[in-house]
């Protein structure tokens, strides 16, 4: 009797042990990965870009950052003569022209910038000569993302590419 009971306990213990081990085997790496993702600090990246003086161009017109980085981008309007506002708008690939047209359609009352447009990943406000503005965003998946100024007529020539690299 005692022998049979001891055997049942032993078998039960063995079952628990197997279940525990199995769960642990599944849970540990999963939990570790969750911990690793949530605990890992985002890489902080500061990017600076400006207008090319009074010319309709960004300087530089190519930027690079790693995916997932917390990006703080500052745009400086270095124009001296012309009273024209610029901004910096990052879009999903292939959407720059459509965003420029949407900005134009929105008109001056919308500040020449379509609000709530899902094709826009990040955007600074417009700013005049001698001023600077900034925007914070998380770098998207690796790829090449166009950016442009959405002031009417500017986007056609005032544009560039943000290269987002894998980590």
């Amino acid at each position: 009797m005692m022998k049979g009971r001891a055997l049942k306990i032993a078998v039960a213990a063995q079952r628990v042990s197997r279940r525990t081990v199995l769960l642990a085997a599944l849970a540990v790496p999963f939990g570790y990965s969750l911990t690793a993702v949530s605990a890992a600090p985002k890489k902080q990246v500061r990017l600076s870009i400006s207008s090319d003086g009074d010319l309709l161009a960004f300087k530089p017109d190519q930027l690079t950052c790693p995916t997932g980085a917390a990006v703080h981008l500052t745009f400086s309007h270095t124009g001296k003569y012309i009273t024209q506002d610029h901004n910096w708008v990052l879009t999903v690939p292939g959407a720059a022209e459509a965003v420029a047209q949407a900005a134009m359609a929105g008109g001056e009352n919308s500040g020449w910038a379509p609000r709530g447009d899902k094709r826009i990943l990040a955007a600074t406000p417009h700013c005049g000569k001698g001023r600077h503005v900034s925007v914070d965003f998380v770098a998207p998946a690796p790829g090449d993302y166009p950016f442009l100024c959405t002031t009417p007529g500017h986007g056609a020539v005032m544009h560039g590419i943000l290269h987002v690299t894998p980590n």
């Binding site: 009074d54 010319l55 003569y81 012309i82 292939g94 720059a96 166009p146 442009l148 020539v157």
Partner: protein, 159 residues
């Protein structure tokens, strides 16, 4: 007598040409001149795009930018010898008048009229550019990407 006068006139013309050419070759701020001419060509390109898109109401604004942008070229030649500076300023005044004409005709919303005014502006800008050495020039219609010129469909930075 007539031959003497002709000789004097020819000599004067030659002297003026040589003086202008020499001055242009020895500009004190060639980089600033280049920027000044590029600013004007850039705004011209913007005017061209607005006309192609029939955005007549934006053309007065472009003219304002053109007038403001001319300050860069004016500053660039500020310290040049008086003869050359005067020549540049006179030609620039003609160019600015041509830009103003674009704005004035834009009120008509008549593409033919505005196109003619824009063509006159381009001609005036070519005259202005001709005062400077070729490497510094920015001819109208050459600053923008080729696919944007003359109302061509925009090929944006969609890479």
């Amino acid at each position: 007598m007539l031959r003497t006068l002709s000789s004097l006139a020819l000599t004067g013309l030659l002297a003026t040409f040589v003086a202008t050419a020499t001055l242009a070759a020895d500009l004190q701020s060639p980089d600033m001149v280049k920027i000044g001419l590029h600013i004007l060509a850039g705004v011209y390109g913007d005017m061209d795009r607005k006309l192609a898109a029939a955005q007549y109401d934006r053309l007065p604004h472009e003219n304002q930018e053109f007038q403001e942008g001319s300050g860069a070229l004016r500053d660039a030649v500020a310290h040049e010898p008086t003869a050359f500076k005067s020549k540049v300023e006179a030609t620039l005044a003609d160019t600015l008048a041509a830009a103003q004409k674009v704005a004035d005709t834009s009120k008509s919303h008549d593409k033919t009229q505005v196109s003619a005014a824009l063509a006159a502006l381009a001609t005036s800008m070519k005259t202005l550019n001709a005062l400077f050495p070729a490497p510094l020039r920015a001819e109208p219609g050459t600053v923008d990407p080729p696919w944007m010129q003359h109302g061509g469909k925009a090929q944006p930075p969609n890479k």
